[in-house]
Symmetry: none
Subunit: 403 residues, 2 copies
């Protein structure tokens, strides 16, 4: 929902607590014709019981047919339409490795690559070198590169990918990428797209000149390419937009990062999902919005491990009574996207949602699963970024539109 529509309707009753329980990559597919999905196969007596008193449906994180990445998928669940609120790739890379990005920092996603004697790219990924080599190269570059007036940070991400951050005064990130996108071409120049970004572009160009010298005798990663120059966005913050004191309880950097990006409180990461439930209980009186993130459903989806994904869902179901004992006004159980074991990757399939509140008009459906959700009151392609305003309505926090 557009923030301009919601904001004037928000009352100051401070009523009602909202829990957003995300089982990452929850949506699934049958492994064979006629089979059940992961959620359908899981024994979830608590979710099924709750379903009878809830609204079900399937949400879309971004739009029909679009497979969401983790960053935009969570942004959407937090009420931010990811087509309007775009996170630059450089910033996403920083969030994903828990790099503490500051305002004015210019972040970029980097690839180590291979070039020939004439400087033409022969492999854009340097033979997909392992993370350990990228680690060593980042360290070497950090030690040898020196650009007066700015700090330069290099951090390995995964395989041939790394994060570059430039910290200084008056930097803007509207800079063209240097990746030519094909082999046989030289890396492009990191040109400023507007005058405000000229200073940063010059620094990036100097960085590349120095990096070229540092890397020239390495093999195969003797050069680098930079993409997705970006800065922390200047967005309306979640606690202001929705008038909610919010806390993010998550183990992994990306999810904590997106939550921080919209201004949620992020206590230190939990170590396992049991500890996450404990943190929820301990913080119950201090907040009125709780984002609780369970990672492993997605990991097992990516592995294609159907049995373990099912088991993760069952473990969360078993802990559900602890949330219900807190008596939240609104409890949303869903995923950020689908990660069907059958595909071993994120997918575009809509994601099952269980939306529970005392003011729900029940669907009369007694189980939580993809096919059951087809019949639910939320419908089959509910925009994920509308879940927040619906939660506010059911929490009693939204006044009438017009008289």
């Amino acid at each position: 929902m557009e923030f301009e529509v919601i904001k004037p309707l928000l009352n100051d009753t401070g009523k009602g607590k909202i829990v957003l329980l995300i089982l990452d990559g929850l949506g699934g597919l049958p492994m064979e014709e006629g089979g059940l999905t992961e959620l359908e196969a899981a024994k979830t007596p608590n979710m099924d019981m709750l379903a009878t008193k809830s609204m079900l449906g399937l949400h879309q994180g971004i739009r029909t047919s679009i497979t969401p990445g983790s960053g935009p998928a969570h942004l959407s669940l937090f009420g931010y339409d990811p087509l309007k609120f775009k996170i630059g790739r450089g910033v996403l890379s920083a969030l994903g490795i828990d790099f503490d990005l500051q305002k004015q920092d210019v972040a970029s996603r980097g690839n180590f690559c291979t070039v020939d004697e004439e400087g033409r790219v022969t492999d854009r990924r340097a033979g997909r070198i392992p993370t350990e080599i990228t680690e060593r190269l980042c360290k070497k570059l950090s030690e040898e590169i020196n650009i007066p007036g700015v700090e330069v940070f290099l951090r390995p991400v995964k395989d041939y990918r790394f994060l570059l951050v430039i910290r200084g005064e008056g930097l803007k990130s509207n800079i063209e990428e240097t990746d030519p996108g094909i082999v046989g071409e030289k890396p492009l120049t990191a040109k400023a797209i507007d005058t405000d970004s000229e200073k940063a572009a010059e620094i990036v160009q100097e960085f590349i000149r120095q990096a070229e010298k540092v890397l020239k005798d390495e093999n195969p990663a003797n050069m680098l390419l930079l993409r997705g120059f970006a800065q922390l966005p200047d967005w309306p913050m979640f606690p202001d937009v929705f008038r909610l004191k919010s806390i993010a309880i998550a183990m992994y950097p990306m999810y904590r990062g997106v939550a921080k990006l919209v201004g949620m409180n992020c206590p230190p990461a939990s170590h396992d999902y049991i500890e996450e439930f404990e943190m929820l209980e301990e913080n119950w009186d201090k907040y009125n919005f709780f984002f609780l993130h369970i990672k492993k459903t997605d990991s097992y989806g990516e592995d294609g491990n159907f049995v373990k994904k099912v088991h993760e869902i069952e473990k969360v179901d078993a802990l559900l009574p602890r949330i219900l004992a807190l008596d939240p006004s609104v409890l949303i159980i869903t995923g950020d996207h689908s990660t069907p074991c059958a595909m071993k990757s994120h997918s575009w399939h809509p994601v099952p949602v269980l939306f529970h509140a005392k003011t729900c008009r029940p669907d009369g459906i007694a189980s939580f699963g993809e096919r059951a959700c087809l019949k639910g009151g939320l419908g089959v392609r509910f925009p994920a970024y509308d879940l927040m305003s619906l939660a506010l309505a059911h929490a009693g926090r939204l006044d009438k539109f017009g008289a």
Copy 2:
């Protein structure tokens, strides 16, 4: 549907009559877990019979999670997206009490309030004085205030609220409100926001100066606050947009007011719902669009009186054969919003719709109720402002788009 899309497709066959039967606040909720909603509990043999030959679904008046006020909710049913066609608060107040607002009139919603000796607001609602006191104060102000060149109208609305209308030449309503929004502050100045509104702003300021003197010895309502300065909107009119000769049959001012706002014919108000059905029959040959408004379903919803709301629905169901005997091309039975007895207020819950036409693709559902509508062909979040174009299509009034 956007008017620009519809207008070029409208043919001039003049075919088909459309009836929009609104049971105000129709949508409901069960009173207890596992219970039925008002509409589900009501015995509606005629609607159930009609359902088998109709499309069902649930509409949203404004957007997901937004609780519609009566004005915007009806505007939406008339085909006007209420986020694009906004009715100012002052105009809404005028519609609600049947004040005959003219073009150029500047209307504002007023509160009587209490101020201390230094003029600081101590109670923005003057202890919620009853309507009778507001009536007396409006009369007193009307008699004593004199501003050369303009007419000033004051009308009680309800409790501490009143309507102020200023009538004169060359007035525009882009004026800042005087309500500081919190106690402890003085009322703000009614400043013009653009130069066109300067004349009206000066008149409002003069009105406030005089009102302050008239009210100063009253207790507790010794001052007033003004909000929502507005004028009649300059919108495309319903009969032009949809090429329909239209009539509004309603008992209450707000509904007649919104219908008038979009250019429908509004004969004098009926006295009860039986008379409304008589008016429908008497006017059948003269019009091809009939808006028939039943109020009491909403009133009993607001009262939380489940039994009486159910009974109102049943009374309308019993009269349905009189509409069917007229053989309309399209009959839409729905509400403007939900008013669940369980909540005693308007709510954001989608509203059941029964859409009947000979060209309907039937859903195969044999009852009219919230859960039955979940399975219907209109879906679970049909935009209310698309019902009109769907009615035009089923009436045979919309030509093909493209060759």
